[in-house]
């Protein structure tokens, strides 16, 4: 078993993929907690698509080195654009975001469609190439993670206040729009860092799922953060192992990025089933206790009894 979990990483390309996915997993999960609190899953999705034209233009101008600057620029613009759009009332936020997203994506598609290797480029961009990351990519990801992590750490109190009590934050004199912009820019950075490795479309899984699963497990914010940050890299590792094992030993080709996401989704499914079971058990226990109270202690003082049947009534009250 340990062989299975460790042997694949004797190959240098697997080691690089592991380092990349561990950094990305931890970073995205940390940001994901805030994304979940603020319900910004759609914004994350929108940004993943919006960086597409930046990637294309960057690649046209500077080759592979141009991808990250191009994507970063467009992601920053899109995040700022969204912050501005969110403050207008003329069009609902989700519609604005859907158009921002598809519009940017369409620009990318139009640009790419003028090139020869149209579909290959598009596929690589959408699905990523986790196994071909090189040392430069890892450095870029690590630097991005460090910057984003520092920003989050410095502004954690304000961002939390904004998430739980926007009016309170406003009343306390914090510039809410600036906090929104900061968070949107951090999300944009994560998206850009993850684009090359797991592809635009699967970034959202790395961001959203660890936090959502952790939230189902525990209610305290610190524990949610810790569990999420552990879950992200762990599923990255498991996903890589599964992908390697399936491809090498079982002759089933399984894309690495997709395997990571499927592991994440399975974990979420398990946790969801567990929490559903737990709440069902708690509810039936409560119902039993109530029944007993209803038949045994109903004559107790100060408890008015409905004629129709106390059980129906109490259920309705719950």
């Amino acid at each position: 078993m340990t062989d299975l979990l460790i042997t694949p990483f004797e190959h240098p390309f697997m080691t690089r993929a592991l380092i990349e996915i561990v950094i990305l997993g931890a970073l995205s999960a940390a940001v994901g907690v805030l994304v979940m609190l603020r319900r910004l899953a759609f914004l994350t999705d929108a940004l993943t698509h919006a960086v597409f034209p930046g990637v294309v233009v960057g690649f046209m101008i500077g080759g592979t080195d141009g991808i990250v600057p191009g994507a970063l620029l467009v992601a920053g613009l899109a995040a700022a654009g969204f912050t501005a759009l969110a403050s207008t009332r003329r069009i609902s936020e989700d519609a604005a975001m859907a158009m921002l997203l598809t519009g940017c994506f369409a620009v990318g598609v139009v640009l790419v469609s003028r090139r020869e290797s149209y579909t290959a480029d598009l596929t690589g961009f959408l699905f990523g190439r986790l196994l071909t990351v090189n040392t430069t990519d890892i450095t870029v990801t690590a630097v991005t993670a460090a910057v984003a992590g520092t920003v989050l750490l410095l502004a954690r109190k304000e961002l939390l206040l904004r998430a739980f009590d926007p009016q309170g934050a406003h009343a306390a004199g914090y510039p809410v729009w600036l906090l929104d912009l900061v968070l949107n820019l951090v999300i944009a950075m994560v998206v850009v860092a993850a684009v090359r490795a797991v592809g635009t479309v699967l970034v959202i899984a790395l961001v959203v799922i660890p936090a959502a699963a952790a939230r189902l497990l525990t209610g305290r914010l610190t524990s949610v953060l810790v569990v999420a940050v552990l879950l992200g890299p762990l599923s990255g590792w498991l996903g890589l192992v599964i992908s390697y094992d399936a491809s090498v030993h079982h002759d089933v080709r399984l894309a690495a990025g997709a395997a990571v996401v499927l592991v994440l989704v399975s974990i979420y499914g398990l946790v969801l089933a567990g929490s559903a079971l737990r709440s069902w058990a708690a509810r039936s226990r409560a119902a039993r206790r109530r029944t007993r109270a209803g038949s045994g202690g109903a004559e107790g003082p100060g408890r008015p009894r409905a004629v129709g049947g106390p059980r129906e009534l109490s259920r309705e009250a719950v």
Partner: protein, 314 residues
């Protein structure tokens, strides 16, 4: 105009007919998507139909059929996990005001669950695709669409779907309007609001799947949301909004096709960009026109409706 020159080709004519049908369909359905803020769910549907497409191409059955079946599964998954359907599905919204937080515990709100289902579905599609041998060319076409290759049978399928969806929309117009603006009253009046929400989601799904061949999975959202959002800027009554939305969708579709023929760019991208241009110019122009019209009796009413939509979010 290159579009006029190439009208002699049967494929250009078919593309034109297809975009008109799809424009009418998406424009009409989009009104309800925009009013109920279901954009993200629509987005999730388009992404999550992807594994259906891959499975269908592996099995050799109709791609649209596979996509449709999988889309229904996605709708079912999101509604069961988050415990809402349609009408309530908008409560979280984006940048949400924190409303609806009490409803279902954190980690299970609509926005998060939609994100999970979306990425899960897409990853499944990618995994299946990577397991199969090379021929992912037609699948890439499915991602970004290729309206110029629609077949006569596709046209028939689109036309029938459009007719059915429009008929349902007309038949249920009163209930859908009530559900969009006052879901509580709908339930109180004794309508089966859950089932009604589900019907609406299925209609949206039908529109998504039908427009897949034309603009692809990702940009189908633009064709649904864009025209309706444009119409929303100008109109405050649902019948006029629907009419304007359909008109905008058809015009932008044909315009995008013309742009694509003229400068030889991807048709799907060109159509989406035309829609985006229409929306942006409406957003810019509306305040200017509105200012000159402020004295008119209609001006006040038009202004009050966004307020309704805003309170509804909370």
């Amino acid at each position: 105009m290159a579009l006029l020159d190439s009208l002699g080709d049967s494929y250009t004519r078919r593309a034109l007919v297809e975009i008109v049908i799809i424009g009418a369909l998406c424009g009409a359905v989009g009104v309800h998507v925009v009013l109920r803020r279901l954009s993200f769910l629509t987005m999730a549907m388009t992404h999550a139909t992807f594994p259906g497409v891959v499975v269908a191409s592996l099995l050799g059955v109709n791609l649209v059929l596979g996509a449709g079946l999988f889309g229904v599964l996605v709708v079912a998954a999101v509604t069961t996990i988050s415990g809402v359907s349609g009408a309530a599905g908008n409560s979280g919204g984006v940048g949400g005001a924190g409303a609806g937080r009490g409803g279902s515990g954190g980690g299970r709100d609509v926005s998060t669950v939609t994100g999970v289902v979306l990425s899960g579905g897409f990853a499944l599609g990618v995994a299946l695709m990577s397991a199969q041998d090379g021929s992912n060319r037609d699948l890439s076409a499915f991602l970004v669409g290729s309206i110029l290759t629609v077949q006569p049978t596709d046209l028939v399928v689109s036309a029938v779907t459009a007719l059915v969806v429009l008929a349902v929309l007309v038949a249920l117009r009163k209930e859908l309007l009530l559900a969009a603006f006052d879901p509580t009253a709908l339930t109180a009046a004794g309508y089966p609001s859950r089932r009604l929400g589900l019907v609406l989601l299925l209609l949206v799904e039908a529109a998504v799947v039908t427009s897949l061949p034309a603009v692809g999975t990702i940009m189908a959202v633009a064709l649904i949301v864009g025209p309706a959002a444009t119409a929303r800027v100008w109109c405050s009554r649902i019948p006029t909004m629907t009419a304007v939305s359909v008109a905008v969708a058809i015009t932008c579709g044909v315009g995008g096709l013309a742009v694509s023929e003229q400068w030889d760019v991807a048709a799907g991208g060109a159509i989406v960009l035309t829609v985006a241009t229409a929306l942006v110019s409406s957003l810019v122009l509306a305040p200017l026109v509105g200012r000159s019209r402020r004295g008119a009796p209609g001006g006040g009413r038009a202004r009050s409706v966004p307020a309704v939509a805003v309170t509804h979010q909370g």
